[in-house]
């Protein structure tokens, strides 16, 4: 057996069924071994697509996603995808080919220091230098990727190691691996749990922020139970969306920069903040000094480094969100047998009434009849269609990054965990489409809808090829305003409307592009057509692209960066006025410039030395 076969065997041992990748010279033995294996290989159009697809697969399934790229450019193309997974704690194993060990350091063809490049964006990485190390390394990589706070692990695999003879008898796959420096804490400290329980009972105005950690820990059941037991309202972060059913009476929606009014107000006025599996990013807290100013803070996180990093914490609990919540619930039930004591709290009743009134008074308008279409209307129709077609429990959304993402995060109600897939921490445009591929592969029976903007869509538009080749039936909804809407909104709000490089022209025609790939497509310009087209797309068992032409003046309510969460401002309704210069104009400018420079007034005409000239 060769090293490459041993590697494939090791992947199979980990339960890997599918890998996303792109071959290359340094991976030839690997792909040759793949020929004989039962692993499904999805050939993407770009390594970045492979990494995002593996990431989407991991987020939906909870299993480790695997992506592969060759040495050099293959490795660097994976980087954005791996960094995206790292920022959102998604379990990934990224494999890169490498030049043979004897050539490492010689600047060989397609050689790059992959180990060095990946180091700051992975939980850990390895370079395997001898085939006998393959089984142990692959075991360690998967163990590290999926346990504790999950994250990507990178393995650099030189070509000669893949070719090297390997004896499976003398190097069996180890059942257990020893990582002396790696012992994640999963169980919360009983004393801390007791303190949390007391704080929960004593609080009058508690609120929970549920982060991505609740989704990762599969802690939805416990979260709902905890919230209901103590009548604690729940808001979520972007990554926490889906961890608490958003139609639940205690749900407040998303908190933060693009959060809902009830959520932002609740956090600003609470006397107890229970943060579960969230890391208090600047997009959640706004001005950190005025964040939750009256609150005692309980912070539950599996990563000790997150506790106290951004917000000072009163009761830290290091542990797995699910297990800690379970312990809190059982301790609560012991402290007050029926949970009645908690509910009898006078202050809390008023608190819930107050939040309820906020919720009622801030129901957003969504049923606009305008042309061009308002994005809110599409979100509304999408929710209605899901209801109508009874797709609630078999439906997954992936979003791209920017306005499309925030419209979905703000208005779209998610019911189930791991069904709202979005790039949060890194905010990677181009994530949505390849992530949808991964999501569909992870749950083939579910309907997968990729909501994207025209900008993010074009960043990985090549993955239409992957979708077409395999016939992966995902529905792509482009919120098409030919504008980099989020940047455009900020320029209008904070840079006096000086729109700079945020406008796209009319090409391409996305419907024609899709048809070029053999993908069904429709353009929708009339709001009354939205529902029918969405239905058709969702009921068809083929890939389907819908190009929604939306109003480019539409923005999102937001809290300006670094301000208090209650300072929610409305977007400026402005239409793009930026003119895209033609190449002829650019050419004129370029040539004109160079002529000007040669007779520039600033440089004295009488000098001769070229050294002197450089001094000016």
């Amino acid at each position: 057996m060769r090293g490459a076969e041993a590697f494939i065997k090791a992947l199979e041992y980990e339960g890997v069924k599918v890998i996303f990748g792109y071959p290359g010279g340094a991976l030839l033995p690997f792909y040759d071994a793949l020929y004989d294996s039962d692993l499904i290989h999805i050939l993407t159009r770009h390594e970045q697509g492979a990494a995002h697809a593996a990431d989407g697969y991991a987020r939906v399934s909870g299993k480790v996603g695997v992506c592969v790229g060759t040495s050099g450019p293959g490795a660097t193309n994976l980087v954005t995808g791996v960094a995206t997974a790292y920022a959102d704690s998604s379990p990934l194993v990224a494999i890169t080919g490498q030049v043979p060990t004897r050539l490492i350091g010689n600047d060989a063809f397609q050689e790059i220091d992959a180990l060095g490049i990946f180091m700051p964006i992975v939980k850990h990485n390895f370079q395997i230098r001898r085939s006998k190390d393959i089984p142990g390394t692959v075991r360690a990589a998967f163990e590290i990727a999926k346990t504790g706070r999950p994250g990507p692990v990178h393995i650099d695999l030189p070509k000669d190691v893949q070719e090297e003879e390997f004896n499976i008898e003398s190097n069996p796959i180890p059942a257990k691996i020893d990582l002396p420096g790696y012992k994640p804490t999963v169980k919360g400290h009983p004393k801390q749990i007791k303190m949390a329980v007391n704080a929960i009972i004593a609080a009058e105005r508690p609120v929970i922020i549920a982060g991505g950690g609740v989704n990762i820990a599969n802690g939805t059941e416990e979260l709902v139970k905890l919230a209901e037991l103590c009548a604690i309202p729940v808001c979520t972060t972007l990554m926490g969306k889906g961890s608490f059913p958003e139609e639940h009476p205690l749900a407040l929606g998303m908190v933060g920069m693009h959060g809902t009014k009830p959520a932002n107000y609740a956090v600003s006025e609470c006397d107890l903040l229970i943060a579960i599996g969230c890391r208090f990013s600047d997009r959640i807290t706004g001005d950190i000094r005025s964040f939750a100013p009256y609150a005692k803070v309980i912070h539950i996180d599996i990563d000790p480094a997150e506790i106290g990093k951004n917000v000072d914490v009163d009761i830290p609990i290091v542990g797995d969100a699910k297990l800690v919540m379970r312990d809190i619930i059982s301790s609560l039930l012991k402290s007050c047998r029926t949970g009645e004591k908690v509910l009898n709290n006078q202050g809390r009743e008023e608190w819930l009434k107050y939040l309820e009134s906020l919720k009622r008074s801030s129901i957003p308008k969504m049923d606009y009849d305008h042309t061009p279409i308002k994005p809110q209307r599409i979100v509304k129709e999408l929710m209605d269609v899901i209801q109508e077609l009874k797709l609630k429990d078999k439906f997954i959304i992936t979003t791209d990054v920017g306005q499309n993402q925030m419209w979905m995060a703000h208005y779209f109600k998610v019911h189930l965990p791991r069904t709202f897939i979005s790039s949060g921490g890194l905010g990677t445009m181009g994530f949505g489409l390849p992530a949808a591929i991964g999501a569909k592969i992870a749950r083939p029976e579910a309907k997968v809808v990729c909501v994207t903007g025209d900008g993010g869509f074009m960043m990985n538009i090549q993955e239409l090829g992957t979708i077409a080749d395999y016939g992966i039936p995902v529905v792509i909804c482009i919120f098409d305003n030919r504008t980099l809407g989020m940047v455009y909104q900020w320029q209008n709000l904070f840079y006096r409307g000086r729109q700079c490089s945020v406008t796209f022209g009319e090409s391409p025609d996305f419907v024609k592009v899709a048809k070029g790939y053999g993908i069904k497509a429709q353009r929708v310009t009339d709001p009354s057509d939205i529902k029918e087209v969405l239905k058709e797309a969702l009921l068809s068992d083929e890939p389907y692209l819908i190009d929604f032409v939306i109003d480019p003046s539409e923005g999102l309510p937001m809290v300006p960066p670094g301000e208090k969460l209650k300072n929610i401002i409305e977007p400026v309704k402005a239409y793009p006025k930026e003119k895209i210069p033609s190449f002829q104009e650019i050419k004129k400018k370029l040539l004109g410039d160079s002529r000007e420079r040669s007779v520039s007034k600033d440089i004295p005409q009488d000098f001769t030395s070229p050294v002197e000239r450089e001094m000016y």
Partner: protein, 177 residues
Amino acid sequence: MRRHSKKEEVSTHIISALVLNNPGVLQRIAGLFTRRGYNISSITVGTTETPSIARMTIVVKGNDKILEQVVKQLNKLIEVIKVSDLDVDKCIKRELCLIKIHTPDESSKSQIIQYTNVFRGKIVDLSPESLTVEITGNSDKINAFIELVRSFGIKEMARTGLTALMRGPKVLKSKKS
């Protein structure tokens, strides 16, 4: 209003870390410090009684909040086995310095030899116009010696950076044992 309890004042800390003696581990740790904007004053690495484990001594400046993060982030690294922020008053700190001093005549040579004796250093090399001194101690002592001989002319100098161990029987143990 909640109070920010942690001390804001910046002080020097000595971090002792046991790490797996793997290739790349130094880069991983140095990279962490760069990426998170922590200030390293010095870093020393050497093997320990267990060949597979190395000890790193990192001198870092920062306030309590930053130090807490440094220790936690170091602990997150898979190859880091154990980290401790040593109590500066309760540990032995040593640094070694080699100094090549300009000594063209006998009088300057004898003066340097005298100084070296006072500082309990060693003359480790001698040539007609120079003299190399090895001096060990804490950083203050070494700084004092350098200041003392500066007027003679320091031709070259090499300092190792600080290394340290806790006093008493307590040891930094790996989690495994």
